[in-house]
Every structure is written in structure tokens, then in C-alpha cells.
Amino acid sequence: MKNVYTVATNTFREAVRDRVLYNLVFFALLMMGAAILVGQISLGIEQSVIVSLGLTAISVIGLFIAIFIGVSLVSKEMDKRTLYALLAKPVERWEFLLGKFAGLVMTLTINTAVMALGLYVALWTVKHPLQSSDVYILVAVYLILLKLAILVALALLFSCFTTPFLAILFSAGIYVAGVFAQNLRTMQTVDIAPAAMRILKAVSYALPNFENFNVMGAVSHGRVVPGALVAHATLYAVAYCAIVLAEAAAVFSRRNLK
């Protein structure tokens, strides 16, 4: 695992030096503007507006980073041929992939943690003191992070066998489909043939169910997030990432470099 750690820390260093964390400035400006505006126009719904806006911004910014940088993790190394010298070291290809995944998840964790702090500051400016139920904002942020980890794994998988452009399209497409995966699973309709329905159900279970990670509504209204839901989402994300990364490793292990 030492090799994985070495690749991961270098991936994090790359993100920092390539100014990926500059998005935090945008987030800070957004939250400051929102806090000032909400304080003036909202009556009694400050918490709901600020938390919803903040969590949405954390999720959207994270999505962009997960997909765009996730896809470039492998493709950039292959295009620029920085991978050549590395793979000629005693490093397994799966170690490289896992390191890249861990490095970007590390970047997203720090990025998301700083944004969460910004969200709390904005919330405090419109409503102080903070309440004990506000701790659930952290739970919501944690679940967003799990969702982003799944997206990074998917972006990594796609970039192992296709072009960056297609990998971005596939990752974004899977994200949109994953948001509606729960609806597909529970869909009841008489217009579809039973065989097609079975296929649709199977696809819906293969897709990542991002509804598992959506507690924004509950948290923005100060409601409790059950521990069982968090544990289930954690296990689901870990298992999904493991399966996708294993597939990526299998593809990448026989990939010819240019």
C-alpha cells in the first residue's frame, strides 16, 4: 500500500499546484453573497435557503472536479507519457489506479471540508447561535463526498478504455441516470413489455443509486438523519467503488500505452 500512498499524495500535490482548490474562492464569494441577500429578504427560512444553497454548491463544484479531473487522472498521464517512467518502476498498475483514486478523493475531502466550514460561517452570520441539529449538515456533506467518490471511480473506469471526451460524457450520463435510479426501481407501468421491464430493473440496480446520498431536504429543515441510513450509504459507496475500481484495474492491466 506504500506505492498507493505515494501516488495518492502526488496526485493531491498536483491538484494543489494546478490550482484546483481555487474553486473555494468562488464558493466563499457565493456563500457571502447568499448570506447578505438571505439576511435581507428571508423571514424565518434563512437556514433552509442557506443550507440548500450551500449543499447544492458543494455538490455541483464537487461533481465538476470529480468528473473532469477524475477523467484526466489516467488520460493525462497517458497523453503526456508521464506514466512511462512510473510503470517501469516496481509498481503494479492497480496500485497506480488506486493511488490516483485515493489522491483525488483526498483532494475532494479537503475541498469539501473547507466548503462545509464556509457553509457554517454563512449560516452563523444569518442565524446565531447555531443549533445542535446543524451538525447534520456535516452528515449531508459526508454523503455528498461518498457520492463524489463513486463518480471519481466511474470517471477513472471510463478513462481507462475511451477518450477523455467520451469518458466525461459517460460519467455525466451515469450521474444523471443515477439520480433517477430509485425512480426506475420503483416504477410501475403497464405500457412496457415484461422482458423490457426486467432489463430496465436490472439496469437500475447496476446504476449507482445517488438517491441514497440525498439528505439535503431533511438537513435544510433541521431534521435528524438516521444513523442506519448513513451506515447503509457508506457500505453501498464502498462496495460500489470497489467493484468499479476492480473493473478499471482489470481493463487497465492489459491496456497498451501509446
Binding site: 507519457r81 516496481p90 497498451n256 500505452l257
Partner: protein
């Protein structure tokens, strides 16, 4: 006799071609060769001959259609093999957001060196390749030649027994090329095995114990530079003096004159008859030597043969 450091057996590589990748093109055909421990082996060939393909196969950057290879007795599929092997890619490119010190430290970590050993080895390598003063500059500001030096430094950073260099002189100025030549010779003195590809024949003649010539994905000859070019003799050359200028022998008119000396080139089977004729004409024979093609001439002949064959296939 020394043991083989690199053993390649029937290694072939095919690339899919066409829009649907239904056709394949062979870029390497049944390559079998050995590089002995402690020798400097030059892999010669024109662009697209299969040199880099062979090296990438050895470094498991690409995978063969068939065949096997071992380095120091270990299969190239065994990742531990890389513990004793250093590799310089062709036109190397490294993480440009890192400095030379950082990139070497990064690579050193994969070889399990302690922090102190890493620091010492990195310092030593920077000094060896002449990058001490540029150590804190990000690689995005490096020239091509400086990147080549970083590449060389990372290849020998972990004290490998076998060093594989893909076009190590590429992009270097004459001074840089000389420095690389010195490093290769130093590696040889230290008893390491060096395999390097090049199309600069003078470098190969100067550095290599043996060379292998590859053209069109096929190995066309392996041996010392002398053995390679000695595979065929192009004729004989007689050097003679003739004091009397008024000699109307047709041989004299065929010869090239330099001062009082004449140089005559002729087919091998005409040698003895010509010597008799020259003796009769009063010439003093100074030397008789075989005309052997230079490595460059041998190389060019192979390339031209290959092109002729390729165009013959296209016409038919």
C-alpha cells in the same frame, strides 16, 4: 561466458489498424536475441523499425502478441523485475509541476529507499547529470535536453543492474551527448548491462560491445560492429607507389592518385592477377586491404532493401 541479462524469445507485436480495428499490422516479428551481463548493447534501426516497441514490451508498457522475455532471469510480467532495471523513455516527460529534486524523490520512493538514502541518491544523481543548479526549478521551465537529463537520472537513481535507454541522445546538444556517452561508459565500467536504442550510428560504434540491427520489425543482424559489417566484403583495395609517371597500364588509369601513391579498388577474385600486373608495371605494393562496409553503409543497405521489398509487395 557471462549470463544473459536480457533474454528475448520470439517476441511479436501487432497493432490493430483500420476504422474498426479489424486488420492488424505487425510491428515486431519473432524477435529473439540476448544481451549479456555487463555489456553495452546498441539497438539500431531507422524510425519505426521496432526499437521502441521492443523496449516498451520489455518494460511492460505494451503487451506482446506472442513470445516471452526475461530480465536477470525474471519474467517481464513480474513487477519485481523493475527493482533491478532502470528505464529512460524516448522523449521523456515528467510531472511538470514538480522540481527535479521532487520528481527524483518521488520515483525513489517506489524503490523502497529510506528518506536518508533517497536524499543522498537524489543529490548524487543531480550532480551526475549536471542539474545541481536547476534542482529547485519546476520541470515546466526545463528545456528538452534538461528533461532528458532528468530522465537519465531517474533511470539510474536506484542503482540498477540493467539500464534500458530509449534514444538517450535524442534532443541533446553535442555537449549533452558527450555527457550521456560518458555516463553509459561509466555504467559499463561499473559492470552494469546497458541496452540502448539509437539511430546515431557513430554513437553505437563508439559505445557498444555488440549491436543488433532491426529493420521493418525484423532483426537483421547481431554482433560486434566489426562482425556486422564484416558479414560481406565489398572488395579489395591495393595501395601502391609508381615512380615512373609514364605508365600506360589500364590499371593505373583506374586507380586514384594521391601524390606518388595510387589507390585501386577491385573485386576480390581479381586480386592476384592485378598484383602480378602491377608488379610487371614496376609498382611497389604498399598494402592490400579488404574493403568492409561501414556500419552506416550496412545499415543503409538494409533500409533500402526493406523499402524495395515493401514497394515490390505494394506493386504486386
Amino acid at each position: 561466458m557471462s549470463n544473459p541479462a536480457i533474454e528475448i524469445e520470439n517476441l511479436s507485436k501487432e497493432y490493430p489498424t483500420g476504422f474498426l480495428h479489424l486488420k492488424t499490422k505487425k510491428s515486431l516479428a519473432d524477435l529473439t536475441m540476448q544481451v549479456q551481463e555487463g555489456e553495452v548493447f546498441g539497438f539500431l534501426g531507422p524510425n519505426g523499425a521496432g526499437k521502441s516497441t521492443t523496449i516498451k514490451l520489455l518494460m511492460r508498457l505494451i503487451f506482446p502478441a506472442s513470445g516471452t522475455a526475461r530480465i536477470l532471469g525474471k519474467s517481464i510480467d513480474d513487477v519485481k523485475m523493475h527493482q533491478s532495471v532502470g528505464y529512460l523513455p524516448e522523449q521523456p516527460y515528467f510531472y511538470d509541476y514538480l522540481t527535479a529534486t521532487e520528481v527524483l524523490d518521488y520515483f525513489a520512493r517506489f524503490h523502497g529507499l529510506t528518506p536518508n538514502d533517497r536524499r543522498l541518491r537524489v543529490e548524487m544523481m543531480l550532480k551526475k547529470v549536471g542539474l545541481e543548479t536547476a534542482r529547485k526549478i519546476q520541470l515546466r521551465k526545463y528545456s528538452k535536453g534538461m528533461l532528458q537529463r532528468v530522465g537519465l537520472a531517474q533511470a539510474i537513481l536506484h542503482d540498477p543492474q540493467v539500464v534500458v535507454l530509449d534514444e538517450p541522445m535524442s534532443g541533446l546538444d553535442p555537449l549533452g551527448r558527450r555527457e550521456v556517452r560518458d555516463i553509459i561508459l561509466e555504467l559499463k565500467r561499473e559492470g552494469r548491462t546497458v541496452l540502448f536504442s539509437t539511430h546515431i550510428l557513430s554513437d553505437a560504434e563508439m559505445l557498444c560491445d555488440r549491436v543488433g540491427v532491426i529493420v521493418g520489425g525484423k532483426l537483421r543482424g547481431v554482433g560486434t560492429a566489426g562482425e556486422i559489417v564484416g558479414m560481406k566484403t565489398e572488395g579489395m583495395e591495393i595501395l601502391f607507389e609508381l615512380r615512373c609517371n609514364k605508365n600506360d597500364s589500364p590499371l593505373v588509369s583506374r586507380a586514384t592518385r594521391t601524390g606518388e601513391r595510387y589507390r585501386l579498388q577491385l573485386p576480390e577474385d581479381e586480386l592476384y592477377a592485378t598484383l602480378e600486373e602491377l608488379k610487371a608495371a614496376g609498382a611497389r605494393i604498399l598494402s592490400v586491404t579488404q574493403i568492409k562496409p561501414t556500419l552506416e553503409a550496412f545499415f543503409m543497405n538494409l533500409v533500402e532493401d526493406d523499402r524495395a521489398q515493401a514497394s515490390a509487395v505494394e506493386v504486386s
